[in-house]
C-alpha cells in the first residue's frame, strides 16, 4: 500500500507518529473513450471558452462564481492567508460511542500505521479504546481539506473514517414517507416482521460479490481470448531470451577470436571461454 500521508495523532500530551493508507478501493472496470475511426484514445484539452485557445497549466487561475458569469479570483496568496492548523496532525477532540454516529456521516476510510518511535503509544491508545469501547472524534487535514474524522480500532489497527460536517448532510425533510402507520393492518405488519426474521443472518461481507463486474469481466476475457481487440499502433512481438543469450555468446566468441589475431589494434586478452559455472 502506498503511504498517503505521514504525521502524528495528537492525543492529550502524547504525539503518536503515524503513516496513513487508503483503506478501500473501488474495483469498477474503467473504460476508455476511443475515436471510432482510429481506435485511439480521446484526449482532453483545456480550451478557453472565449478565445478557444488551449490554456497551459500556468495560464490557469481559480475563480469562485459568486453570480452567473462573475468570478472572485483566488490566488495562492489568498489561500495562504487563511489560518490553517497543523496539517500534519490528527487532533483528537472528543471520545464518543460508535453507535451514536449515524452511518450517513461516514465518508472515506484510512488505516494508520505507527511510524518509528510511535509503536508503544499506538498500542496504548488502541488498547485503551478497546477497553472503553469508545471511538475518537478528530480533526484532520487531507490534501488541504480539513475534515472531521472518527478514529476507531479494527483488528488491532487504528482506522480513520472521515465524516461529513453536519451541514454537508442533506435533510430528508422534503421527501415523502409513505402513509401513516394507522393505515397498516396488524396482520400485514406481523407477516413483514416474520419475513425479516426468516432472512436474518450474521453479516458476512464475503457472501456478496459484484456480479455485474464479474459478468462484465468474463465478457471482456472472452473478447480477448477471441482476439477481438484493436490497437491504434500494433504491439511489437516479444522475443526469445534463449535466442538472445545464444546470440550474445556467439558474439563474445567472435570478438575473442578476433582479439587474438596479431593485426588487431586492441590489446590481446587472455582467457576467452565462458566460466565453467555458466549454464
Amino acid at each position: 500500500m502506498k503511504t498517503l500521508w505521514k504525521g502524528a495523532v495528537s492525543f492529550g500530551l502524547v504525539n503518536i507518529p503515524v503513516s496513513m493508507y487508503v483503506a478501500t478501493e473501488n474495483k469498477d472496470l474503467k473504460f476508455h473513450y476511443l475515436h471510432q475511426a482510429c481506435m485511439a484514445p480521446i484526449n482532453y484539452k483545456k480550451i478557453c471558452s472565449k478565445c478557444e485557445q488551449e490554456a497551459k497549466p500556468e495560464e490557469i487561475v481559480r475563480g469562485y462564481e459568486f453570480q452567473k458569469g462573475s468570478y472572485i479570483i483566488m490566488q495562492e496568496e489568498d489561500f495562504a492567508r487563511i489560518p490553517q492548523e497543523n496539517t500534519k496532525t490528527i487532533d483528537i477532540l472528543d471520545f464518543v460511542r460508535l453507535e451514536q454516529v449515524d452511518p450517513i456521516y461516514f465518508d472515506k476510510s484510512y488505516y494508520l500505521e505507527p511510524s518509528a518511535g510511535g509503536d508503544k503509544a499506538y498500542t496504548l491508545i488502541v488498547e485503551a479504546m478497546k477497553k472503553t469501547g469508545k471511538i475518537a472524534i478528530a480533526k484532520i487535514m487531507i490534501r488541504s481539506k480539513q475534515s472531521l474524522a472518527a478514529l476507531r480500532v479494527k483488528s488491532e489497527h487504528l482506522v480513520v473514517e472521515t465524516i461529513f460536517y453536519p451541514d454537508e448532510i442533506r435533510s430528508p425533510a422534503s421527501l415523502s414517507t409513505g402513509v401513516g402507520t394507522d393505515k397498516l393492518h396488524e396482520k400485514e405488519l406481523k407477516m413483514a416482521v416474520d419475513l425479516i426474521e426468516n432472512l436474518s443472518v450474521d453479516f458476512d461481507p464475503a457472501r456478496y460479490e459484484d456480479e455485474y463486474r464479474q459478468a462484465l469481466w468474463e465478457l471482456i476475457e472472452a473478447k480477448i481470448a477471441g482476439q477481438e481487440y484493436v490497437s491504434p499502433t500494433p504491439e511489437p512481438s516479444g522475443g526469445n531470451v534463449v535466442d538472445l543469450m545464444e546470440a550474445l555468446k556467439a558474439s563474445v566468441q567472435m570478438t575473442e577470436s578476433q582479439k587474438t589475431k596479431p593485426v588487431t589494434k586492441k590489446k590481446a586478452a587472455a582467457g576467452g571461454k565462458r566460466a565453467k559455472t555458466g549454464a
Binding site: K27, L29, C38, A40, P41, N43, K45, Q53, E54, K56, P57, E58, W217, E221, I224, P232, T233, E235, P236, S237, G238, G239, N240, V241, V242, D243, L244, M245, A247, L248, K249, S251, V252, T255, E256, K259, A269, A270, G271, G272, K273, R274, A275, T277, G278, A279
Partner: protein
C-alpha cells in the same frame, strides 16, 4: 508472507565507467528489468523488489516456482524482464510492475509475459549461503533448477571486455562484474560487484525547448506511446555552440501555444510542433519513464513511427 525473505536486502552493484578483464572476476549480462528476490517456502512464493516492497501478486507466472525447484525452501535473486522486439523492454516490465488489479495482472501475464533471469541463490533448505563465495552459490543454483521457459540462469563469462562489446552491439543495458569469491553483502556495502552500462540510444521528437535569456539551452524530448507524445526529459548536452545559435535563431519563430506533449512538462517550457527529430544516447530509463543523462548525437530525419517506445 515475507517471512522467508526476512530482512534480506539486495546486493547492489557499484557503477563503473569501464571494464577491465580480471582473473578474479566473472561477468554477466545486466538484464534490464525489475530486480526481484523470490522466497520459496514449502510451496509458497513471496516476491520482493530491491526496496523491500512486495510484488508477489504482480508476477503470477512465478507461482509455479515451487514445482520447478529441487528444494522445499530457497531464496533466489534475479531480474524480471519482459521481451519486446527480441530485447528486454523496460517500459513493458514497468507496466507489469505497476499493475494492481487482479484482472489487469492476469491479462498482462498473457500479453506481456515475463522471464525471470536468476543469478544468485541466497539460501537453500534453511541454510544461509550468503557467506559462501559467489561461484559456489552459482554452482548450487545450477542444481536447483534447469533452464526452461520463463526461468533462466544468467551465465557467467570470463572476459568482461568481449561481453560488454557483445552487449553494446546487441543494444542492451550493460554488464555486471562480480568477484568470484565474494560473499553476498547488502546494498552497496562491498567492493565486489560493479555495473558497467552501455549507453542506449533512442530516436526522439523535439516538442519544445527552454530559454536562458534569448538563447535556447535545452530541447524537450518526447516519444510516441499509444499515439501520444510522452515527455521523456530535456537534453542540454551533445551539441556544439553553433548548433545552439542556430536553434536560438530558428526555434522561437516556430513557437506554438499548445503543448504537443501528453502530461506534465517543465514550467519554463516553450513548445513547437513535433517535426524535428534527434538521436540521443542515454544511460537508462528512470522509473518515471524519463531519460537519465541524455546526450544529443545528431539531428535525424524521422517520423512519429520511428520515435516510438
Amino acid at each position: 508472507m515475507t517471512d522467508e525473505l526476512g530482512n534480506i536486502r539486495a546486493m547492489e552493484p557499484i557503477r563503473q565507467t569501464a571494464v577491465t578483464d580480471r582473473d578474479d572476476f566473472v561477468y554477466q549480462v545486466k538484464w534490464d528489468g525489475v530486480r526481484i528476490m523470490a522466497g520459496i517456502t514449502n510451496g509458497r512464493v513471496c516476491l520482493l523488489n530491491k526496496k523491500g516492497r512486495e510484488r508477489t501478486l504482480q508476477y503470477p507466472e512465478l507461482q509455479k516456482l515451487p514445482g520447478l525447484l529441487q528444494a522445499d525452501r530457497a531464496i533466489l535473486d534475479g531480474e524480471i524482464v519482459v521481451m519486446k522486439n527480441d530485447r528486454p523492454h523496460f517500459p513493458a516490465v514497468m507496466q507489469r510492475d505497476r499493475a494492481q488489479l487482479p484482472n489487469t495482472i492476469k491479462l498482462l501475464a498473457q500479453t506481456l509475459p515475463i522471464e525471470y533471469m536468476v543469478f544468485d541463490l541466497l539460501s537453500l533448505n534453511n541454510q544461509d549461503l550468503r557467506k559462501l563465495p559467489l561461484l559456489e552459490r552459482v554452482a548450487k543454483l545450477e542444481k536447483v533448477f534447469a533452464d526452461q521457459a520463463q526461468l533462466h540462469h544468467v551465465p557467467c563469462f570470463l572476459q568482461g571486455s568481449s561481453l560488454l562489446a557483445a552487449v553494446q552491439e546487441a543494444g542492451m543495458e550493460g554488464i555486471v562484474a562480480k568477484r568470484k569469491n565474494s560473499a553476498y553483502h547488502p546494498a552497496r556495502q562491498h567492493n565486489d560487484w560493479f555495473k558497467i552500462k552501455c549507453s542506449q540510444s533512442q530516436k526522439c521528437m523535439v516538442g519544445g525547448y527552454t530559454l536562458h535569456g534569448q538563447k535556447v539551452n535545452s530541447l524537450l524530448l518526447g516519444v510516441y506511446r499509444d499515439d501520444q507524445l510522452c515527455y521523456i526529459g530535456k537534453a542540454a548536452n551533445g551539441l556544439r555552440e553553433e548548433h545552439w545559435q542556430t536553434l536560438s535563431r530558428e526555434l522561437p519563430a516556430l513557437e506554438t501555444k499548445r503543448s504537443p506533449f501528453a502530461g506534465p512538462v517543465p514550467k519554463e517550457a516553450h513548445f513547437i510542433e513535433p517535426r524535428l527529430a534527434v538521436l540521443v544516447e542515454f544511460l537508462e530509463w528512470t522509473e518515471a519513464m524519463q531519460l537519465r543523462f541524455p546526450v544529443i548525437q545528431a539531428f535525424i530525419t524521422a517520423n512519429a513511427a520511428d520515435c516510438r517506445i
